[in-house]
Amino acid sequence: MAALVIAEHDNLSLKVATLNAVAAALQCSPDVDILVAGSGADAAAAAAAQVAGVRKVIQVDALGLADQLAEPLAAQILSIASNYSHLLAPATANGKNVMPRVAAKLDVAQLSDITKVVSGDTFERPIYAGNAIATVQSSDPVKVITVRTTGFDPVASTGGTASVEKQAVADSAGKSVFVGRELTKSDRPELTAAKIIVSGGRGLGSGEKYQEIIAPLADKLGAALGASRAAVDAGYVSNDYQVGQTGKIVAPQLYVAVGISGAIQHLAGMKDSKVIVAINKDPEAPIFGVADYGLVADLNTAVPELTKALS
């Protein structure tokens, strides 16, 4: 049977994470549809129709779906779920929020954060903060899945010729109301989509140092900003900067870890990066165990020097 991918989008555009989820879906079934549930989301639906390998795009447009609230979105997915053997979403904040709601209503287990499709009913997923990889098999008739985006190369965003089919909105009582959104304003690339990430840890000592040392290097490289959980806990930056098992999972071309010791929690979120650079004054720091290039130095002098050298 076919697989359905729940699109990650902001009504205006399709997020790259959707392409990773489509890649995983194509390993479950040759017939992959995308659901674009939103409000005024014609552009996102049109983008979804271009995605390589997609059979059909189902677009549902309603005001109540504008903000991807879990209750109406789950109702929408459930209204068409019986046509599919696999329901997949990228393991983003939205995907993690809505999919268990769908699974419970279907009385099936969810497979969270899969990193590999072994077969149509068997998958690999990390447990214990990435310290172990479990291979799990589902006996349920429908597989509800969230996809760890770094585990699957995205399919091409163009080349597809899917049709867009508009469907009526499913009924769902308004139990929650969207109040507002406060997105971190930044001209820098988004953390999970960035090619280069510069991350700072507790070695920086303060939020001011973070801005003074990390930000200029990121600007020079056109990189996104990241941070360790320790730096977030210490209040240097907000939580949406956090890279790690309890934050964002990233896999850029280049990851520069500054003043980060390399707790397993953090490594779980960035160890799939192509090239890892670590700058730390402690030669025993575990981060050097995964770094391609390590530099034992005082970050207060080495990082500004690096920024300058790239000019």
Binding site: K96, S112, R125, P126, A132, A134, F178, R181, A297, L310
Partner: protein, 249 residues
């Protein structure tokens, strides 16, 4: 208003688990067990709501082996009023736990149910959402701020790229993120007091729920190791490597 808090006993977050040599799972014999850190934040938030006069009673629940009583006693020492253990040796998966919690919340009729966003052992991040779904009530996951007023709860959520605020009708399910609060240290007098608080034990059969596992673990393996690279002498050498060897800048 009554608040129900669900907690889980997990391998302590400081313990580095080892995969068993027969690949059947991770070795948790003789390792330190603690309350899941996100659940500790959940208990703390419930107790703060009681201290602020919003809640009248905080009931803490868990499901699992006999030793889970210790985890419940910790929650009672933080300030929960009473505890319920659904005792079983069975392998409990999130859907089964959600069903157990649904049965308990039907009985307790709590207005707010708070859970950690995910357990640090199986990293599923499912139980709260599943519970809200089974109860057919709204949910606010990944909470960083909770305000209860006028029969509604307004929750600020940690989402990709920033924060989002939603308002929910009660009853509702909330799952906690890291920055919601900083749990207090439990003091000895409170640990002593917690020993006198009520802790009920029930069996899953008494709740009439199906807890059969749906997922079978075929094997558990070590993650692929990333080998260490080279140490460079200075910034100039680093720039040279990145430009000419790795070719990433």
């Amino acid at each position: 208003m009554k608040i129900l808090v669900a907690v889980k006993r997990v391998v302590d977050y400081n313990v580095k688990v080892r995969v068993k040599s027969d690949n059947s799972g991770v070795d948790i014999a003789n390792v330190k067990m603690s309350m899941n850190p996100f659940d500790e934040i959940a208990v703390e938030e419930a107790v703060r709501l009681k201290e602020a006069g919003v809640a009248t009673e905080v009931v803490v629940v868990t499901a699992g082996v006999t030793q889970c009583q210790e985890t419940l006693r910790t929650a009672l020492a933080i300030g929960a009023d009473r505890a319920i253990l659904v005792e079983t040796d069975a392998d409990l998966q999130p859907l089964a736990v959600a069903k157990i919690l649904k049965a308990l919340s039907d009985k307790e009729q709590a207005q707010i149910i708070i859970l950690g966003k995910q357990a640090i052992d199986d990293d599923s991040n499912q139980t709260g959402q599943m519970l809200a779904s089974l109860l057919d009530i709204p949910q606010a996951t990944f909470a960083s701020k909770v305000v209860v007023a006028d029969g509604k709860v307004t929750v600020t959520r940690e989402v990709d790229g920033g924060l989002e605020t939603i308002a929910l009708n009660l009853p509702a399910v909330i799952t906690t993120d890291l920055r919601l609060n900083e749990p207090r240290y439990v003091t000895l007098p409170n640990i002593m007091k917690a020993k006198k608080k009520s802790l009920d034990i029930v069996k899953p059969e008494e709740l009439g729920v199906d807890i059969a596992p749906r997922l079978k673990t075929i094997k558990v393996e070590e993650p692929p190791k990333r080998s260490a690279g080279v140490m460079v002498a200075d910034v100039a050498a680093l720039v040279d490597k990145l430009k000419n060897e790795a070719k990433v800048i």
